[in-house]
């Protein structure tokens, strides 16, 4: 998966205004392109438009934005660089790609921050108008990299984007500042020509978005077209590239980020349970988009509550659950730290709530906009007392939808809080998502008890070990719950030592019993390989792609992905024990690793990266090859 060309096309004629020139067309199996510029350069928008266009065209796509760490860093500085990477392919893709094949850099800082990720023979398109002495200095360049040969190994295309934008739309009557704001569309138009993409998706978007400001719509359209015709007419580019449609299963699709998928999963779960949804939360990067998405869904009986702090967020969620609503809270690691005590209360009161942790780099405030998987042990053990809680982890943006519904299924069936782990990479990354068939979604309907003449026991257990969810307003079932230890059955406060141990065991058995109700873990690749890669969470794409790559070279390797971290799938022990070697790639210092080693007594080894960045496929490939040779 290194962007290799799979065929060379015939020369094509391209013409404008009577002129014709020969341009060769090459076929590629995939392209990874990164747009980079200042926060204000509209790079996320350009990337999103290329994504939508490519998806509608029929490629498989995977994307990842790279937000600047500082919200309003000074223009032109490294801290203010915003990026968006897109992988579009004629095959199925599982990651936004390792490095990029094409880098569009709108200024020196964008070039400097991203050039290291460009493949050796990759292409750079730069806006030369932004390479002023001042901007070079701001980016920390001592000499102009466009002239000093420092990036000579790459194919460099210098385009005066500012000047061309100003020229293109000067008859719209807009000022120069406004015209310069169209430069992202110019760059996009050029890329559309280069990769032979239709412009119609973007044209429609511009028309709708700026329907009320004609001049702005016109300026953006002109910039888009000028970029396209610039590629077509000037002799700068001798080659165009083609990435054919992928074989994607037929169906209706939309693009979904992990955060959007979590939000959609919550709304869907509420509908499937015939309940209203309560989402109590406190804004935190990178989880806030779940709140933003849900707050648009009031017409689905969604009530969002922006609490005064993380503790109030989870506590209000418990209150809503006690009152009978489907209730969830979402946050990132620092928020989980604050929610810990109330999560223990949820375990003690055995109330169904879903707690989403969109993990980011830690400890403390850490790297808020970067991804990490270092909260697994916090999810498992980060509470006082014996406090077991089911822990699930989503593996792709689309999987966030399924796992959110699954979290609610487990929470309501077993009357327990459930932790769902996502991370910054899944949260912001996007991929096409096939709209589910309603008949494929589980029934989440809930039975609330009614008075039946018998004595009501709030801590009586059913076949799943769950206590009854009796909601206020139900006559005859008045009862009290709380954080003090409960007497088995009656739920009255009990300080009895034997009862305490019994209750600890009952709560643990209930969570452990969920293993009977979840799918077994599946092995991907060669069942008879010596080496198993065992992953969890967002490393899925890189692991699968690496396994494919190694196997395509004729070597044997297998992988398995743990989506249920507590309890583990029943066959996990058998699976890890059936391979000679088990390696566990994680974006942390090794957290699933000690869990696997201690649970199954296997000599698994860790493969760790904690840089706030996802694994590259090639890093995983190299590790597999090293282990296969060693």
């Amino acid at each position: 998966m290194d962007g290799s060309e799979t065929g060379i096309g015939t020369g094509t004629a391209t013409s404008t205004g009577g002129k014709t020139r020969e341009v060769s067309t090459r076929r590629l199996d995939h392209v990874v392109i990164r747009f980079a510029g200042d926060s204000g350069d509209g790079m996320q928008l350009a990337g999103t438009q290329l994504t939508n266009t490519s998806a509608a065209f029929g490629n498989d796509v995977s994307t990842l934005p790279d937000f600047p760490a500082e919200i309003r860093a000074p223009a032109g500085t490294l801290a203010g660089v915003s990026g968006f990477q897109l992988n579009f392919s004629e095959r199925l893709v599982h990651t936004p790609g390792d490095g990029c094949d094409v880098l569009v850099a709108m200024n020196p800082a964008a070039l400097k921050a991203n050039i290291a990720d460009l493949t050796e023979d990759g292409t750079v398109i730069v806006n030369t108008d932004a390479f002023s002495a001042k901007n070079l200095e701001k980016a920390g360049y001592e000499s102009n990299p466009l002239e000093d040969g420092s990036i000579a190994s790459h194919a460099l295309f210098k385009v005066q984007i500012d000047k061309l934008c100003s020229e293109a739309a000067k008859d719209t009557g807009l000022g120069n500042k406004a015209l310069l704001r169209t430069r992202n569309f110019f760059a996009l138009g050029l890329v559309y020509w280069l990769y032979d993409r239709p412009m119609v998706t973007t044209e429609k978007w511009i028309e709708t978005k700026f329907a009320k400001v004609r001049a702005v719509a016109d300026a953006n359209l002109k910039a888009l077209h000028s970029g396209y015709y610039y590629g077509e007419t000037t002799e700068v580019f001798q080659t165009r590239y083609q990435v054919n449609r992928a074989e994607i299963p037929p169906g209706r699709y939309r693009k979904l980020t992990g955060n959007e998928a979590v939000a959609m999963g919550m709304v869907a779960a509420a509908r499937l349970a015939n309940k209203t949804l309560f989402y109590g939360t406190y804004p935190i990067t990178p989880a806030s988009d779940i709140l933003h998405e849900l707050s648009k869904q009031a017409h689905f009986d969604v009530k969002t509550f922006q609490a005064e702090d993380e503790i109030a967020a989870v506590a209000s969620t418990l209150g809503a659950s006690f009152a009978g609503e489907l209730a969830a809270t979402g946050t990132s690691g620092p928020g989980i730290a604050l929610k810990g005590e109330a999560m223990g209360l949820a375990v003690m009161t055995e109330l169904p709530v879903v707690i989403v942790n969109v993990q980011r780099g830690g400890p403390s405030t850490g790297l808020p906009t970067k991804t990490e998987q270092a909260d697994l042990l916090q999810a498992m053990f980060g509470r006082n007392g014996e406090c077991p809680m089911p822990v699930l982890a989503a593996s792709t943006p689309g999987d966030c939808f399924d796992m959110t519904i699954e979290a609610f299924r487990i929470a309501t069936r077993y009357m327990t809080p459930v932790i769902l782990l996502s991370d910054g990479y899944l949260a912001n990354g996007a991929a096409p998502w096939m709209l589910p068939k309603l008949s494929d979604l589980p029934d989440l309907s809930v039975q609330h008890p009614q008075a039946n003449g018998r004595e009501f026991l709030p801590y009586e257990r059913n076949e799943f070990g769950a206590r009854p969810w009796a909601v206020p307003g139900t006559r005859g079932l008045e009862h009290r719950i709380g954080g003090l230890e409960k007497a088995a059955g009656s739920g009255n406060v009990s300080y009895d030592p034997d009862n305490h141990e019994r209750m600890i065991k009952l709560r643990a058995a209930k969570v452990a019993g969920i293993a009977n109700d979840i799918p077994p873990i599946e092995i991907y690749g060669d069942q008879d390989a010596d080496l198993l890669l065992l992953g969890w969470g967002s490393t899925y794409g890189a692991i699968i792609s690496a396994v494919d790559d190694v196997r395509s070279k004729g070597k044997k390797v297998a992988s398995a992905h743990v989506k249920y971290l507590n309890p583990f799938p029943k066959n996990l022990g058998e699976v890890v024990q059936s391979f000679k070697r088990v390696v566990i790639p994680e974006m942390n210092m090794g957290q699933l690793l000690p869990m696997i080693r201690s649970t199954y007594l296997v000599d698994a080894i860790g493969f760790n990266k904690v840089q706030g960045k996802p694994f590259h496929i090639k890093e995983v490939v190299a590790k597999i090859e090293e282990l296969l040779e060693g």
Binding site: R252, A298, L318, G319, A323, G473
Partner: protein
């Protein structure tokens, strides 16, 4: 909160749970529990629609002793839990029982925000000016200089005044009562329930184990009349055993005057619990013994929309505007394309 007229007539006994009450003998909490149980049947609200939520502390054991729905939660968080209950089910009658430590120290943040949101809930803050459950440390309402287990040389924390805090947080209903002045307490509780919005009631409560007689000046036969001022809407601020003392404004400052000698009732401040601006209520909340009599009764009772009503309106409005959401519609949001 809905009032069901067809409720069978309940009595205080119907609200007694089967749990043994475990406060220290002589604790002021008993009297408050008795009054609450007396008031509940008079509300004509079915028992199953009543929810008591509490945090941690002596007062927070309260829900266990009331035969209704109850949630004894964790330290300081009762208001946040009650918020979730009320938002989920606006038809429930929700009470929060908290203390000076639970509500003003560890849970201070939630108290401020619940009050400003004006959810229709009743908050009873039992103020005994001490930590009872943890056996006698000073609390955020303990007076400066107070010697306790954790302040052997005297407290150097300036105390908070619960009603001033509530008024500062934009409370729409603020009142004060005493555990032993049971008739008055009962009347205040009824007013609190009747108020639509967050009702904040500070109840002076005697902890006879760790801070005995903290409020004796307001309850003792000798001192009571001079140390207390019973607020009545529209009436002048008069107090004293002979009811001949009053509060008058001197510039921006209150002062005590004696009626007679050319001073009449008309010179006194008149109580106005409905005043749109909380200035008067705030000033009254600053009257402290021994310089002033301490007012009891309703300081402030004004109308403002409740959080849950506005939320319900937004949900209803969204449904009207966009139609009631369906699952198919949910998935089709955004840019959708077809692959054949």
């Amino acid at each position: 909160m809905s009032v069901d007229v067809a409720v069978e007539q309940l009595t205080a006994k119907d609200f007694a749970s089967d749990q043994e009450v475990r406060w220290c003998p002589g604790c002021g909490d008993y009297a408050i529990l008795a009054q609450v149980k007396k008031v509940l049947p008079e509300l004509n609200i079915p028992r199953e629609k009543i929810v008591f939520v509490s945090g941690i502390g002596c007062s927070s054991r309260f829900p266990y002793y009331v035969e209704s729905y109850g949630f004894h939660s964790i330290h300081g968080r009762a208001l946040a839990i009650a918020t979730g209950v009320k938002v989920a089910r606006p038809d429930l009658c929700v009470w929060v029982v908290t203390g000076d430590g639970d509500g003003l120290s560890i849970g201070g943040n939630h108290l401020l925000h619940a009050i400003r949101r004006n959810l229709d809930i009743n908050v009873l803050l039992f103020n005994n000016r001490i930590y009872g459950l943890t056996k006698g440390q000073y609390s955020p309402t303990s007076e400066i200089g107070k010697k306790t287990k954790s302040t052997p040389s005297g407290s150097i924390d300036f105390p908070l005044h619960p009603l001033s805090v509530a008024i500062g947080a934009e409370a729409t209903f603020v009142a004060r009562a005493h555990d032993v002045n049971i008739k008055h307490l009962g009347a205040v509780l009824k007013r609190a329930v009747a108020h639509k919005g967050t009702s904040f009631v500070e109840i002076y409560q005697n902890c006879n184990i760790f801070n005995d007689k903290a409020f004796e000046y307001t309850t003792g036969k000798e001192t009571k009349a001079d140390a207390t001022l019973v607020l009545e809407h529209g009436r002048p601020l008069i107090f004293g055993a002979d009811r001949n003392k009053g509060i008058r404004l001197n510039g921006l400052n209150p002062e005590i005057v004696t009626l007679g000698d050319g001073i009449t009732e008309d010179d006194l401040l008149f109580h106005d619990e409905k005043a749109p601006e909380p200035t008067l209520a705030y000033m009254l909340s600053r009257l402290y013994h021994p310089q002033f009599p301490e007012p009891i009764g309703v300081f402030r009772a004004v109308q403002r929309n409740t959080y849950e009503d506005m939320l319900e309106e937004q949900v209803a409005g969204a449904k009207e505007q966009k139609g009631v959401g369906t699952l198919e519609g949910l998935f089709e949001q955004g840019d959708v394309w077809t692959v054949d």
